[in-house]
Subunit: 136 residues, 4 copies
DNA sequence: GTGGTCTAGACCACC
DNA sequence: GTGGTCTAGACCACG
């Protein structure tokens, strides 16, 4: 599982985690029954405090998105509650709009933003940390 | 000017205000030089504490989006903030990366994001909706 | 770090704090990366409300002089604020004009101001006075 | 009499006026017995509200720096209280130091500041609005 | 009435 | 413990 959090973002850290795990489940990147990293493990990966990840897991569990099996770990629920089909798109639209407004006020054009987005995509996809077969 | 805030939303109240005012400026609904409601007035309209609105105004002013004239009121800045465009571009790149990362996790493709961005641009740049043919 | 504020001075409390911290940074008494006292701690030391110190910190942060890490504290920025130097220069020019105007009204000459400036520079750049041979 | 006030400065408008008039008296630019412009007149010159100037005059009068002669106007006192000889210089030093600190943090050098100061002086002295015999 | 500053005190997020 | 947000309410400066 690959999450990206932004410590200086507008959302609190644990809310970023909750949102991203929900979105991962909705998009199929996380399959029902799949094992999640322990909160301690994830906290190391994200370089944040374990309690912060724990808080996100707790909220996800209380909503039925994930399940804790004592001694085994945390897993995506077999039948996770469906994420409102339009919500992910709405969230994304809101972020995109905020990004654009910000850019326009700073004097950038749509073309500028498009170019910046393309560059960002190249950076993100060229690295692709998940597909790097750690060892054979 | 009409704003709506959601006290139980994920973003803090003042950040919601900042976003919406930037959106209004970028879209032209708020024209350069135009007067904003006083922070007290807006706080009554939104049913929140005056200082919360003030904090939003303070941030917008420190970014150069608005200007205040003591005793007169708060106004949309005449000229866009003159901050180093290199730094602006860096900020924008970081936000674009975050947007893309979020989109990918949620199962969207670059093409999806491009489309969403185009739609957002259409909404932002369509001439001020408030003054459009009041009636047919 | 040691600050002194004068509640009955001409400058507002938080502006006095901003000035003194900038002075400390410029003189090197506060090194890049160094931790500032928490705003609560400093507020106790100065016997003023925590929010007043916070406001000073907020302004310093928005100018890029300091950085905050949630849960950890507030630190002097590692690198000087990367703001458009043209704008900085404009600000500086305006302040220099104001300084000169004040000096002329008070009966000083350009040479006087030059001398005062040189003295101020000596004070600012003399190595941190706190660590200078505690006694002879 | 020529005053310069800065509406966005750190000091309140009326305090700027008080300080400058005191300094003018101390430096001899305003002689004992000399007539001051009416507060209405000065308010027009400075483009501020008459009451603001009035407030400054009131404070100056209560301190014995100026006198109001009903129906005649406002005059510099014949024996104005001496301004602490070092105060003007101290004020100036404080301003100079704040200016320098600001400049150093922004990455300017003492030489830069010196050059900026020289330019500012040229602007101030080349215009010299007071000596422009309005009409013959 | 407008913005500017200050206070006291509360709750949340994070380490 | 740290910073982040919100509230209620007060007084000053300015037009």
């Amino acid at each position: 599982m690959h999450l990206t959090i932004n410590p200086s973002g507008e959302l609190s850290l644990y809310r970023q985690i909750v949102r991203q795990i929900k979105d991962s489940i909705a998009s199929g990147r996380l399959a029902p029954g799949e094992k999640l990293p322990s909160h301690r493990e994830l906290s190391e990966q994200l370089v944040i405090a374990p309690l912060t990840v724990k808080k996100a897991y707790d909220e996800l569990e209380s909503e039925g998105c994930i399940e804790t099996r004592r001694g085994l770990g945390t897993f995506v629920a077999e039948r996770p509650p469906a994420v409102d089909s339009g919500r992910r798109a709405d969230d994304l639209r809101a972020e995109a709009r905020a990004l654009l407004a910000q850019a326009y006020i700073a004097g950038f054009t749509l073309a500028d933003v498009r170019r910046i987005l393309r560059d960002a995509d190249h950076e993100l996809t060229s690295v692709s940390p998940e597909k790097e077969k750690p060892r054979t």
